[in-house]
């Protein structure tokens, strides 16, 4: 899908003779400050496959998605932006500012209509006519609608663009809205706050290498990275199955790395690649570093708290079940829910878990005092 037309092909299609094409190349070269000796290379480059043009829009965001993207380790981001794509517009990195920056956007929309990839970071405020986010005097809403029109593919980076994220948490003061609810096009949702760097790089390169968009689930998420629950791929899962839980921060069980379910971990209801791909070149992921999963790639995760209250229960589905089959089930509740859930999810170990649960609930919480 991304075999973008070269300039030469465009000239041929329009019936413009090669002489005119060479003139165009000369003019372009002059604009770029390239000397005559470099002209042959310009001609060659324009006759061969161009790098796919990419527009990266920024709306209601914290820029953590851009920051995550530049953490990519395979490929590294310099290789992506110099060799793989043509990142024609991104407020975070581009040299041009103001109307020169806006020209980059307009040029790509015009010259590559129907051929550019649109990446969106941030949600779009729709309340009060979109006044809560303007760029160049125009609303985010206006810019998104215009830019999406000619996009060959649209990727919503992160939870803001995929599901609204923090600014859409109650009471959503600005009407923060995810991209797929605004534009009339399929959107590849890559949720997470932020998404994992190498997942972001993989989603883009998946399209470029395999010439097709990755398979998506019912929420528009690439199955490649969002079809497994963090819980089912977590290295601490055996402790869960054995009923061994952290009861208090930095207690003896925390120091042994037991399951963080009772501390509010959202791994059981979160579809993401964290426990497999891990973060920052496989260095760690939240659970490995002692904190429960916040569920940051799930819809409305901010309103499914408080974060340190554990999930009451979730259905006893098997690990081959995807979010499409069961939907997202989230809730918080009393301690009794832990036992109830544990039993339903693991009938075979029912007796063992029951004993463990009783044992752990009888224990006093260890008090780890400070220095003072």
């Amino acid at each position: 899908m991304m075999k973008s037309e070269t300039y030469k092909e465009a000239f041929e299609r329009a019936g413009i003779p090669r002489r005119e094409f060479l003139k165009f190349c000369t003019y372009t070269a002059a604009l770029l400050g390239i000397e005559a000796s470099g002209l042959s290379k310009v001609v060659h480059a324009m006759e061969t496959k161009p790098r796919p043009p990419v527009i990266w829009l920024h709306f209601q965001e914290c820029t953590c998605c851009s920051e995550s993207f530049i953490r990519a380790s395979h490929p590294i981001v310099a290789d992506i932006i110099l060799d793989t794509i043509s990142l024609d517009y991104t407020e975070t990195l581009q040299a041009a500012a103001g109307h020169q920056a806006e020209k980059c956007l307009q040029d790509t929309m015009k010259n590559y209509y129907g051929k550019y990839i649109l990446l969106v970071e941030g949600s779009v405020p729709v309340k009060d006519g979109g006044i809560y986010c303007t760029i160049g005097g125009r609303t985010a809403l206006d810019i998104l609608n215009e830019t999406a029109e000619g996009a060959a593919a649209v990727i919503a980076w992160g939870s803001c663009a995929s599901n609204g994220c923090v600014q859409s948490a109650k009471p959503n003061p600005t009407g923060a809205t995810p991209v797929h609810k605004i534009i009339n096009k399929p959107v590849i949702n890559v949720p997470g706050c932020p998404p994992i760097a190498d997942v972001m790089a993989a989603v883009v390169t998946h399209i470029l290498i395999f010439d097709k968009i990755p398979e998506l689930d019912g929420q528009g998420r690439p199955k490649e990275f969002y079809s497994r629950r963090v819980h089912d791929t977590c290295y601490r899962r055996p402790y869960y199955d054995a009923g061994l839980f952290v009861e208090s921060w930095d207690d003896e069980k925390a120091r042994k790395g037991y399951c963080l379910y009772k501390m509010g971990c959202r791994g059981p209801v979160t579809y993401n690649a964290c426990s497999v791909t891990k973060w920052n070149e496989g260095t760690s992921y939240p659970i490995q570093s002692g904190h429960g999963c916040l569920g940051c790639s799930e819809n409305s995760f901010w309103d499914n708290g408080p974060f340190y209250q554990h999930l009451a229960s979730f259905p006893g589905f098997g690990i081959e079940t995807t979010a499409d089959d069961i939907g997202t089930v989230i809730g918080v509740g009393a301690l009794a829910g832990v036992a109830a859930h544990a039993i339903t999810t693991n009938i075979r170990k029912r007796k063992l878990i029951k004993e463990n649960m009783e044992e752990s609930s009888e224990e006093n919480h260890k008090v780890e005092g400070g220095e003072e």
């Binding site: 324009m46 310099a78 609303t139 959503n172 923060a176 901010w302």
Partner: protein, 575 residues
């Protein structure tokens, strides 16, 4: 007279618009506007205070961690929680890693293209670049062949006709002064820094599980220490951190600082441009004893007025007469009137968008023109950031800081007054990075020593259970984001957040005028700046970038009573 509009200001975090009035090639007036708002503070109301760090961390993903740190401290302050020494040290390590990564990225990826002409790279002699590189640093990637390869790569890129992020830059502008060879050096390091920056943040991944947005915890840190266990902060993980710190020190000292000084040497004229305000504010951070002992901070707390470095004023976040916010020119309204100011604990905000309705050409600068409020310290407009921190430390007699600053001034052969400028701001950031990189190593050594002495606690759970909390409590948590003084204020009632307010660095710097029409730092710093070509406002972005804007941080909203939000009606497309 011309009114220049730069919107969007790129290579920053967030959405910033600058309008400047230019007369005879010099800026005579300027207006800074934050054009995006989300309402994080309103969203926090009624929630569990222990969750606030996660919400506020999402205020900014560029200076990730700093809001989480301010937030846990705010709650700890309100509830009287002291964290164990290990937790303090781990927080310091995360703080330092953030600074080093953020400052390096700012210099190379957000600021360098204001000084470095990438097109000039094509005409550089790689042998000369190599000579220059070897004369200023021991960094091993310095052979003529290496620079020739970088040059070839850039040439291939330019020859492709698709300039990507470098398209439509101000290349060839007469304000670019570096020789082609130095441009090549800087571009080579632009690419190296881009690859390196992802390494140092692995410290966050180890200690907080991920970056951006690692995890924090009220009462300590979530990670346990256990040197006899693979599932905790153990010897392997500590070694990894130590390695990353060592690499960071090398990169900062052998790449960032030599480049900074080399580039600065060609732009000494910018040591007398962009000074702006003459008041500086720092809350300070990096406790060596505990957060409750500000005198133990590596970066001291204090305020400087009228550039008088012989006096440092005390700063108190609890004093209702010190830090206050105006909304006179901000799209909000106060119950008590448009010209009042409020301390954050008493903060109130209600949207009051008065136009212009988008799409618009110009802001109505006589009225309200920004989503940023306008903070003042004792009614003074203050600059915050690395320059303010270095000045407060310098004026406080911190010899570590004085030595580094004096050394750099000496090497550039400029007086102390050169610090009060665009160049001074950019230089201060680099010098601070060098200090912080070394302090990171000190904190690491302290952590090892503490563990070795048998102290492995990372959490104080005495007030974790909300049943232990008083009915009401109020707190303030202060820190220094890479971009400057950051504080959160909280009021807790019945175990819930009753009131939460953030006053952040870019609000200090980027805000509109106050009730007395005093300009804030961005606006003031642009006055007197030369503009060579009104169509190519390179000089404006140089000075604005020297502050390292972070606008998502700067804009926030608080509405304590769920008051009516002003409705604005106008024609719109789409929804």
């Amino acid at each position: 007279m011309a009114r220049i509009v730069v919107d969007p200001i790129t290579r920053i975090e967030g959405h910033l618009r600058i309008e400047a009035v230019v007369e005879n090639g010099v800026i005579t007036d300027a207006f800074s506007s934050g054009t995006m708002v989300r309402g994080i503070e309103k969203i926090l109301l009624g929630r569990d205070p222990r969750d606030a760090w996660a919400f506020t961390e999402r205020v900014c993903g560029v200076c990730t961690t700093v809001h989480a740190l301010a937030s846990v401290r705010t709650v700890e302050d309100a509830l009287g929680i002291s964290v164990p020494k290990n937790a303090e040290l781990i927080r310091n390590l995360m703080f330092c890693a953030q600074y080093v990564q953020d400052h390096v990225v700012h210099f190379y990826h957000l600021h360098a293209l204001d000084w470095v002409d990438i097109v000039q790279v094509l005409s550089a002699d790689p042998k000369e670049t190599s000579k220059i590189a070897r004369s200023i640093s021991r960094w091993p990637k310095s052979s003529p062949k290496y620079f020739a390869d970088v040059q070839k790569r850039i040439k291939t890129f330019v020859d492709s006709g698709q300039l990507g992020i470098f398209a439509n830059g101000y290349w060839g502008h007469p304000a670019y002064k570096l020789p082609p060879e130095v441009n090549l050096l800087a571009v080579a390091h632009y690419l190296e820094a881009l690859e390196w920056q992802k390494e140092v943040v692995k410290i966050h991944a180890i200690l907080g599980g991920k970056n951006p947005h690692p995890n924090y915890l009220v009462g300590g840190v979530p990670l346990s220490i256990n040197t006899e266990e693979v599932n905790a902060l153990n010897t392997e993980r500590l070694n990894h951190i130590n390695k990353l710190i060592g690499d960071a020190i090398v990169f900062v000292e052998q790449v960032y600082l030599p480049d900074l000084l080399a580039v600065a040497g060609f732009y000494k004229d910018w040591a007398s441009i962009g000074g702006g305000l003459s008041n500086y504010l720092a809350y300070g951070d990096l406790p060596t004893a505990s957060y409750n002992q500000p005198e133990s901070f590596k970066l001291p707390r204090g305020a400087i007025l009228d550039r008088n470095l012989s006096e440092v004023h005390e700063v108190n976040g609890r004093d209702q007469n010190e830090i206050r916010e105006y909304i006179t020119h901000s799209w909000y309204e106060y119950e008590g009137g448009n010209n009042k100011s409020l301390h954050p604990w008493e903060g109130e905000t209600k949207f009051n968008f008065t136009g212009p309705n988008p799409p618009f050409e110009h802001l109505n600068v006589e009225e309200k023109y920004s989503w940023l409020k306008t903070p003042r310290w004792k009614d003074h407009a203050m600059e915050v950031g690395p320059l303010a921190r270095m000045l407060v430390a310098y004026a406080s007699g911190r010899t570590e800081v004085q030595d580094v600053v004096n050394d750099a001034l000496g090497r550039l052969n400029v007086p102390v007054a050169a610090l009060f400028s665009t160049l001074g701001r950019t230089a201060a950031r680099g010098l601070e990075t060098q200090l912080v990189a070394h302090w990171m190593k000190e904190f690491y050594d302290d952590l090892i020593a503490n563990i070795k002495s048998g102290n492995t606690s990372t959490f104080n759970d005495s007030k974790w259970d909300p049943d232990t909390w008083p009915e009401t409590a109020e707190g303030v948590g202060m820190t220094e984001a890479p971009r400057g003084a950051l504080a959160h204020w909280i009021r807790i009632k019945d175990k819930k957040i009753e009131n939460y307010q953030l006053v952040v660095p870019s609000t200090w710097n980027a805000s509109p005028r106050d009730a007395k029409n005093q300009r804030s730092a961005y606006e003031q710093s642009l006055i007197g700046t030369p503009v060579n070509n009104e169509d190519q406002p390179l000089e404006i972005i140089r000075t604005i970038h020297s502050f390292d804007p972070c606008i998502a941080c700067a804009v926030h909203l608080y509405d304590p009573d769920g008051k009516h939000i002003h409705q604005v009606q106008f024609n719109q497309r789409g929804l």
